[in-house]
């Protein structure tokens, strides 16, 4: 058997070694333990010994060459043996596998690690950034960023809270005299300005300054729609069994149970089976899978949209879900929700069926990966076993973050969800 002489790994983080000189020539006979090659790393120079007795093969690397760790530089051949023409183990000989991230197209661009990180944090392609020298450095990325950002007019000093209030009330901070250090505008300086501005003379329009809650909603949804690549998948489901289930619940329990409650129950079970949907995309490039299934319900209130959360929905019975839903919706409308009621959601449901809406393309609630839009249940003609029949049908649409999910996974989830919806007894399995 031919024995390879490889460039060995002799220290941490070593990718290559230098072949200093050959101590034997091709074809020379060698005994086991004879020094054959002198190699050097950044720390050490050492002679490599022949792993077996035999004859030295053709030399596969020249003196002075940088040889990757694990690569064969020659073989020791037995009498009459030929050099392996192609090492069948080549794959196994490769040094530590680079992480998949390192294989992105950008990995071919020469750049310093700092530059690479900086570019990634601003969502820039390294290949778009001109380098002043041979490789892209931090200054290059910063210069590129500066070119992209139009220089903002000098901002007046203001506290973060004052800035937020000014933005919400469309107040120009430059017009406000500040009472803080160095004339900084503080919240108190804006208190008399946050009432709506006087109506303009133009009779054809009405300017409405919505509540802070509405401002937050507008800001978040705009940001989400701008930055999260959405895709939507829809299915129609037969709600016959769902309606029968709700009827049964109404007869059995004092607590009023709604279609939404049943959908939350089914949804929670489906998410347990498909944890990929109960997830969040992380800006640093990872997907976070949530241990808890916490389902948010989109609730329209007078001055905006709130999404209170039914925590650990997968651990709750239908009536427990109904009780919690009732509490949350009532509190949302009375504006008495606690912070804790609004936090921790991992998936959201929005149901406009009660308004007769048949189908919608919902926007996700970041950082959740998906949202379910529920349409109205309507009696429609549909083929059943080859015959036209009238059945209650409903459309379901999932809005998804394409960074965290792709179509096939979501389709499989929908499959599970619809199968439970159409045959809720499966939940007992």
């Amino acid at each position: 058997m031919a024995h390879d002489i490889i460039m060995p790994m002799l220290g941490m983080n070593q990718d290559t070694g230098t072949l200093v000189r050959w101590l034997k020539a091709a074809g020379d006979p060698v005994a086991q333990g004879d020094p054959v090659i002198e190699i050097a790393t950044d720390k050490i120079t050492v002679e490599l010994e022949a792993p077996a007795a035999g004859r030295l093969s053709t030399l596969l690397a020249a003196e002075g060459a940088e040889v990757p760790v694990g690569q064969a530089m020659a073989y020791i051949l037995a009498e009459g043996e030929e050099m392996p023409s192609k090492d069948p183990e080549t794959g196994a000989l490769s040094p530590l596998d680079p992480s998949p991230a390192a294989l992105s197209p950008d990995s071919r661009v020469e750049a310093s690690p700092v530059a690479r990180r900086l570019a990634a944090s601003h969502g820039l392609n390294l290949s778009d950034i001109p380098a002043a020298g041979g490789r892209i450095g931090r200054q290059d990325v910063e210069a590129h960023l500066a070119r992209q950002t139009p220089s903002a007019s000098r901002n007046p000093l203001a506290s973060p809270k004052a800035r937020r209030m000014a933005r919400a009330a469309s107040v120009d901070l430059a017009q406000v005299s500040g009472s803080g250090p160095e004339g900084a505008v503080l919240a108190a300086d804006l208190e008399d300005r946050t009432s709506p501005p006087p109506a303009r003379a133009t009779p054809a329009t009405d300017t409405i300054v919505p509540s802070p809650k509405w401002q937050v909603m507008a800001q978040r949804l705009a940001e989400c729609w701008r930055t999260v690549p959405h895709f939507h998948l829809s299915r129609t489901a037969d709600a016959t069994q769902l309606q029968a289930w709700r009827q049964a619940c109404r007869e059995k329990y004092d607590q009023r149970v709604t279609v939404t409650d049943l959908l939350v129950k089914i949804l929670a079970a489906s998410l347990r089976e498909h944890p990929a949907l109960n997830a969040s995309w992380q800006e640093e490039g990872a997907i976070l899978r949530h241990q808890e299934v916490n389902i948010g319900l989109a609730v329209a209130v007078a001055d905006g949209l709130l999404v209170p959360v039914i925590r650990q929905a997968d651990h709750r019975s239908v009536t427990e879900i109904a009780v919690e839903r009732e509490r949350l919706v009532t509190a949302a409308q009375a504006d008495t929700l606690a912070m804790a009621d609004l936090e921790g959601g991992t998936f959201t449901v929005t149901n406009l069926g009660m308004f007769g809406v048949e189908r919608m393309n919902p926007i996700i609630k970041p950082p959740e990966a998906a949202i379910l839009g529920v349409g109205a249940i309507k009696e429609q003609v549909t083929p059943v076993e080859g015959q036209p029949a009238i059945r209650p049908l409903m459309d379901l649409t999932l809005g998804c973050d394409h960074r965290a999910l792709e179509g096939a996974t979501v389709s499989r989830f929908l499959q599970t969800f619809v199968s439970y919806l159409e045959a809720p007894l499966l939940l007992l399995d």
């Binding site: 506290s159 973060p160 809270k161 937020r164 803080g180 503080l186 919240a187 108190a188 912070m339």
Partner: protein, 328 residues
């Protein structure tokens, strides 16, 4: 709930007594904790109850008893290692940082180290620079260790019982100035979870986050501030690591101002971490910079006239809070 008044030191002893009575795996090892009942005299009589096998008087070998604690914890016991002065935690750093903190992680979750390292903190006794430091920030820098610094007898007892039952190494810092201080504790058994802070006083104008004995300075400052028309909210994280970040951020968002007070040195300290958490989580709600008050960045001096200058006090807290509220 019916309550009793006991001292902070008694609360510590009761917690240990109750847990040792409840669980035969619990034992305590440390210097002078046997017949002497510790140099702070908080364990008088405990060795009579549990014997020298479970209240173990050790040589002056901090590194060794910490290591013995780790070994016993890995093999089914729940040791409480008593390190007389917080200053001596420097001697146990290898066992706490390289062993206790990492064993669960390095073993891929197979081994656990349910051990409590109790020690003290706090200046004020004219004990000079090697018996007065508050080094809780050191261990808070190490993932895998939980760090607790209670402010009242009630919290101390409930938190220590939780710490003993916790499956992780927990460093428990007791301000030695507080051992004699009284406070109310429930008559019946109770636990206080690690990692949960507590609002010690509600207010709308400024959040004062304080730990250990600094909670009392802050509450006293809040009284004065109230007379000046400033309603201060005093928040005690109770557990320094992991921090109850939610509570801290929610309070700062509500009041739009925050001041952090802790007896560790200010540089690279607990105040820095908490201030950063608040600045990050409440930034858009803040109307003033987040300020912090730690111990002065000097070794603790001996002379009382010098020592008192180094520790944050109520008067200083009042001044800082007033300036943050624009009423200086």
């Amino acid at each position: 709930m019916s309550m009793r008044r006991i001292s902070f030191g008694d609360a510590i002893r009761e917690a240990i007594d109750e847990e040792m009575a409840r669980d035969s795996q619990v034992f305590m090892i440390g210097e002078d904790i046997g017949a002497a009942g510790s140099v702070f005299k908080i364990f008088t009589g405990l060795q009579d109850t549990y014997g020298p096998e479970r209240i173990i008087d050790s040589p002056i070998s901090e590194a060794g008893i910490a290591g013995i604690g780790v070994g016993a914890a890995i093999t089914g016991m729940r040791p409480i290692v008593d390190i007389m002065f917080g200053d001596f935690t420097t001697m146990v750093m290898d066992q706490m940082v390289n062993q206790a903190a990492k064993t669960h992680y390095m073993s891929g979750g197979k081994l656990t180290v349910p051990m409590v390292l109790r020690t003290t903190m706090g200046a004020g006794r004219a004990s000079a620079a090697q018996h007065s430091q508050s080094l809780h920030a050191w261990l808070s820098h190490v993932p895998g260790v939980k760090v607790v610094a209670p402010s009242t007898p009630r919290d101390a007892k409930g938190l220590l019982k939780s710490a003993i039952r916790d499956d992780n190494p927990v460093a428990f810092f007791e301000d030695k100035m507080m051992y004699a201080w009284p406070g109310e504790v429930p008559d019946t058994e109770y636990l206080i979870p690690l990692g949960k802070g507590d609002i010690k006083r509600e207010g709308q104008d400024i959040t004062i986050v304080a730990t250990s004995s600094m909670v009392h300075e802050s509450l006293s400052a809040a009284e004065t501030l109230a007379s000046l028309g400033i309603a201060a909210e005093v928040v005690d994280p109770r557990t320094v690591s992991p921090l109850d970040t939610e509570l801290l951020i929610a309070s700062a968002r509500k009041t739009s101002r925050a001041l952090v007070v802790d007896e560790g040195c200010q540089q690279y300290g607990v105040t820095g971490e908490i201030a950063s958490v608040i600045a990050d989580g409440a930034f858009y709600y803040l109307d003033a910079p987040v300020k912090r008050m730690g111990a002065m960045d000097v070794p603790v001096p001996f002379a009382p006239s010098l020592e008192t200058v180094t520790i944050p006090d109520a008067a200083g807290i009042v001044e800082m809070a007033k300036s943050l509220c624009g009423k200086a």
